[in-house]
């Protein structure tokens, strides 16, 4: 399999933290079925730390692998640390993605942010809205 690196294939074939959390403290969903990628992230947050995380993804191999990698990167981290995770870091941790597949991984970063914003909203925690740009309605997964 030359399309994806061994790390991508490992995360795609054996996704970590896959599933849902019925007692999640926050849920974020990004993407659009029309575009072929939806990512949903569930967080359990204790004392400002991401104690547990699960994801569900409708999407291609790189979308599923990126979701899986992203959950590993934020588990056990503080909210601030999780918010600092970028799409670029996820892709690097995966050992890279083919250029035309990068856009499928953007959702990982967005899903983390969307879930954390949900946490802030649910708990009435004030936050800087400019750090959570809304995805443009109707626009498909953007190319990067």
């Amino acid at each position: 399999m030359a399309l994806y690196s061994d790390t991508v294939m490992d995360h795609f074939l054996h996704p970590r933290n896959v599933g849902s959390l019925s007692d999640a403290d926050a849920v974020g969903e990004v993407g659009n079925a029309r575009c072929g990628d939806i990512m949903k992230m569930y967080l359990k947050i204790e004392d400002g730390v991401i104690a547990d995380v699960r994801f569900e993804t409708f999407g291609c191999g790189s979308a599923i692998a990126s979701s899986s990698m992203a959950t590993e990167m934020i588990k056990g981290k503080s909210i601030e640390e999780a918010l600092a995770v970028t799409n670029k870091e996820v892709v690097e941790a995966l050992g890279g993605l083919p250029a035309h597949k990068l856009h499928c991984s953007v959702l990982a970063e967005e899903a983390i942010r969307s879930a954390i914003r949900d946490y802030f909203e649910r708990n009435g925690i004030p936050y800087d809205k400019s750090r959570f740009p809304e995805a443009e309605e109707g626009s498909c997964c953007r190319m990067v």
Partner: protein, 397 residues
């Protein structure tokens, strides 16, 4: 692990006969057919024989056969030639369909930029282009109708003979991209009323990079490649003799074995269709019967096609999909959208195209593997989970 190759619409394995036919021309019989010496004349003789064989398989005359680098080139040349002829007569309208291969669609786009107007007919839900619709779309200034013989994605076989008759009656040139049909269906250019036809060797167990443009005698062609006088001045460049000889051998074999092969494939195709139809919220794409004997194409709600393909590959199954992520574009297959599948569902498509070596056990293995993999992907799909929870409507029945 055994590999099950179910992607014959993408390309086929070369037949032993075709390889054996080619070998001497890669080895000892390497001369240029344009050379005067006896070695060259042996190559010219091979070229002549290949042309006769190909013509015979299509019901054409040898002089109506132009060898090309494949199906794409033949489609390009056919359409551009008809357009050039139309241009001279002040006819700048072309009728085609929304489900053509990009070799046709992109050529038409190019002509639109040059001032041609193009009507792309939408198919019925089963992928069929009704001949009445073709008839209705033809105008005074129509110079060409281009309708594919069989669709490469959903396998629908078009009513070519009826469309050919419409074109003949209206005096409009008729081109058919028969890349998926030749060698698999009884194509006969005269009986089908086809003026221009494209075929590709690698779709019927011949070599890649070889194809044919059939142009009925009297239909003038424009040359896409200028240079020497090969192919009667219609396609310059020293002929790819090994590939042409291999193509002719493969085509003759495919035509000889066609009925026997199809009789084997048909029940296997139908077994796959029945088995995969048992997957909940799945839908067959294309017509149930007006369909290539090799083609099976389904949409499965709630999943994405590329991840399905990758997992099937792990189980030894080679297939394809019309999802955006397999095409490198942002949109799923234009064919699935044209037959009315919403984007959400079109992303979850699977095409299986079986070949002669496919067995009943393979079919059962594929059915089990696809059912299992679709269930697994639905298990981790937020779309499917939300549908199950009633938060999102199901699209497929």
């Amino acid at each position: 692990m055994k590999r099950i190759y179910a992607d014959n619409a993408a390309t086929t394995r070369m037949s032993r006969r075709a390889i054996d036919a080619m070998l001497p021309y890669l080895d000892t019989a390497y001369a240029n057919p344009s050379s005067l010496h006896s070695a060259g004349q042996e190559a010219a003789e091979a070229l002549r024989r290949a042309r006769e064989e190909v013509a015979a398989c299509l019901g054409a005359e040898p002089k109506e056969i132009v060898f090309t680098s494949g199906g794409s080139e033949a489609d390009n040349q056919a359409i551009l030639s008809a357009a050039a002829l139309g241009e001279r007569k002040g006819k700048r309208h072309i009728v085609s369909t929304a489900i053509e291969h990009h070799a046709v669609l992109h050529t038409l786009k190019k002509l639109e930029k040059q001032g041609f107007s193009v009507t792309l007919l939408p198919p019925r839900e089963n992928g069929v282009i009704p001949p009445e619709e073709v008839e209705r779309a033809i105008r005074e200034d129509t110079c060409l109708v281009s309708v594919m013989y069989a669709n490469n994605e959903i396998g629908t076989v078009e009513p070519i003979r009826e469309i050919g008759a419409v074109c003949r009656a209206r005096g409009v040139l008729f081109h058919s991209d028969a890349v998926q049909a030749v060698g698999h269906l009884p194509v006969n250019v005269k009986e089908d009323g086809i003026d221009l036809l494209a075929l590709s060797a690698h779709k019927f167990h011949g070599p890649k990079g070889a194809g044919v443009l059939y142009a009925r005698a009297g239909v003038p062609l424009v040359s896409l490649i200028e240079g020497g006088a090969q192919e009667r001045g219609k396609r310059a460049g020293t002929e790819n003799i090994p590939a042409i000889v291999g193509m002719a051998a493969a085509l003759r074999e495919a035509c000889e074995k066609r009925e026997e092969v199809n009789a084997r494939l048909l029940p296997l195709r139908d077994r796959l269709i029945e088995g995969l139809s048992r997957i909940p919220r799945s839908a067959l794409n294309g017509d149930r019967t007006a369909r290539l004997p090799s083609n099976v194409n389904f949409c499965f709600e709630g999943i994405e096609g590329e991840s399905l393909l990758l997992l099937l590959d792990q189980k030894g199954i080679c297939a394809s999909s019309g999802s955006a992520c397999t095409s490198g574009s942002l949109d799923p297959s234009h064919v699935l959208l044209a037959i009315g599948r919403p984007h959400e569902v079109a992303h979850g498509s699977l095409r299986l195209s079986i070949g002669e070596d496919f067995t009943e056990e393979d079919a059962d293995y594929v059915i089990a593997a696809v059912s299992e993999t679709v269930a697994y992907l639905r298990g981790i799909s937020p779309v499917w989970q939300e549908c199950l929870a009633g938060k999102r409507p199901f699209i497929l029945p």
